[in-house]
Amino acid sequence: MGLQIIKPDTNYNIIGLRKIAFVLSGILILIGLASLVIKGGPKYGIDFAGGIVVQAKFQESVDVSEIKDALAPLNLPGLAVQRFGDAEANEYLMRTSQGTIKAEDVRNQVKEALTQGLDGKAFEIQRLEMVGPKVGADLRSKALEALFYAVLLIAIYISGRFEQRWMTAGIMAAGLAAGIYVLQLLSMPMTYLIVAAMIITVGLCWYLKLNYALGAVVALIHDITITVGIFSLLDKDFDLTIVAALLTILGYSLNDTIIVFDRIRENLHAKTAKTLGDTINISINQTLSRTLLTSGTTLIVILALYFFGGGVIHDFAFALLIGVVVGTYSSIYVASPILLGFSGSKGAGSEGAPATANAS
């Protein structure tokens, strides 16, 4: 047999640590939320806020302030210029929020301003992106919608698949659709609508006792909130590729969660342990080496992408990096303990922690 990270007879008392885990998660989420509140929401990139991004490559090194001065006559609001990529590449990224400049003229005017302001230093515009404010708002609500539908469909799938309760899952979907419809009548902004939808989903899962779905959905919300929070904390731009990253994280984290749940279900059938808490603990331990291995190989490739993938993909890789770490953690320390917490009365006398403590 090859190497083994986790010894076969390992039995970490994961359920016993859940209170610490909850506190840790809570702190992380609160820090992220606080950052979001203080900064007045996520820092949207041009995809969502509208604006202009120009990436230019110069023949020789140019000072950032020189570029700023050259562009000053255009009166671009919120202009930010930064070096991009390797130091010797002489690449610069110019960003601005939507200005009065007409879309048709952006390229010409930027070109002209740079040519005149920099005494004819040779440069090439490598990339230019302009997103109008209306398109930005649309992309934003579409992205939120995507996140929402992903979570909803996943909740339905888990309830159906794990508890054979497709009917109940259907009822949940109908209840959610009705709730969203009513909220839409009140013409709520999309952001609140999504938050409300998440609350309704969690509420319905709880009320209909869809415990597996509840655990998975809470873990997903946990992962996304923490990733968004860290992005806000680090002042990183939020754009379409980050949403793609979030959805990937969602899929990945869920992957992990389901593999643990699968094992829990299997062990419940086989009556491996007396209490649900013990069953969960055993299941997590059994799948632990797989969880760590897969996360490890995934992290290897994401790190390759992060360090060598180039500037355009950098933030995307960073989001995946956080997501995979948080997603792995949440499938071990969040999803299953929640499953236990809400099925508490089912297992014989399992108030979770005490029972598990005895067993381990």
Binding site: T298, V301, L303
Partner: protein, 533 residues
Amino acid sequence: MNGSLRWRIILTLVVAVVAIAFVLPSFPSLHTSGLKKVLPDSEINLGLDLKGGIHLTLGVDVDKAILNSVAQMGQDIRAEAREEGVLVLRPRVNDLGELTFVLLKKEQQASLEDILSSRFANLKVNGKTVQDNGQVLYTIGLKPDYRAKLEKMTLDQAVKTIRNRIDQFGVAEPDIRKQQDNRIQIQLPGLDDPQRAIKIIGKTAHLEFMLVDEEADVSKAVRGIVPPGSSLYQLQKRRADGSYAKQPIVLKDDVVMTGQYITDAKTQFDSYGQAYVSLTFNSRGARIFERVTGNNVKKRLAIVLDGKVYSAPTIQEQISGGRASITGHFTTDEAHDLAIVLRAGSLPAPVTILEERSVGPSLGQESIDKGVFSTILGMVLVLGFMVVYYRFAGMVADLALVLNIVLILAGLAAFGATLTLPGIAGIILTIGMAVDANVLIFERIREELRKGLSAKAAIQEGFGRATLTILDANVTTIIAAIILYQFGTGPIRGFAVTLTLGICASMFTAIFVSRIIFDLWIEKRKPGATLSV
């Protein structure tokens, strides 16, 4: 070798060969070899972010087009009514986009409404008020279903026009499609000069014919006192030295005709060698033009293109036969460009650029290089790790992984999907996750071995138990991918396609192909050999 195993091996080999055949054409170095003839044509499309190119979203001002057509109907109603001896005055479009006009004699209400219902079936009377002086004020609107139809037609025509224009200038594989909210998305891959494309596409060439307000005082208008129902414009005049002079001119707001009826436009030269553009209208356009000119003899008719007045000749006589010309002291080139744009079709409504993304070809190449490098690096690291950790089984997993990548690339080529930068990221991520299925199986086999099962039984149990888990786990990722595809645009869709292909390929390789190798091992093993997993 037992029968089922043989068939599984044959199937896998066939899949692998077909996949490789689909991947090979994407390598440019193969294009010159003789192999090219026998391989499929499909290549992997590179997205705009990798190949360079331009992505535009245009907003079409459909409301403006509808206002124009409502105004046109006003003119039509007045003309048709006059033929029946019914006098209708001052057709106008109000702020709500409705048509208003005055019927001079209230006794003629029945005959007017008869005309309306028989010849203008798309309109409905929203209101009428009988005034003290015996006149009746009518408010008329479009029927909702006709309005919807008109909106759709306008957008369809805009798409067609833009396609015509792009075709005239020759861009390979343009992708032009309608989006919701009256938007059009345009993708032009591999284009070197985005500025030129934007100029061609963005030129609305929205042609309008408007009457000059002869009573208005131009000097007052310049100071901001414009009579109601009219607006101030600038008439462009080209001087002998090539510069342009602007001359203020006051036009009535009613558009008497638009360019949508043009069937042809040509550059021609008058007797002084001056270039002008001659227009040919279709039959409906010809009728309207005949009526407009007939009703306005000795008045000036302004030709307005994208809000600029090019010329404002005086109508000498009624013009029948469906021809008109735009004179504007053009240079030959200007007249030529104008003719091209008008021939390719005037846009039925003004358009604005809502979104532009363009990537230069050099940056695209750099992105590919970096993407490919990090993919290969990540892959090599994972391959090495698997061998170190699982030994023999690790090699099996590596084989499955390589086949997995080939299958993804083949899938991209076969479906004509587009590989984008996030798509490359998708492949990289798949590499990480593809081993997951194998890891699940191997860990399971190890567990069964520890329970004391024989190698054969452990393999059987391991694959059997892990398969369901793998299916469960992957279905959810596919759900996320489908949603990405549904709501995403451009690069994100590419990512979703890649991710889906990756998951399907990894299930095939991990569950089916790896199993074959293990089964082969069982068949060939010597008694007492231990499974290296």
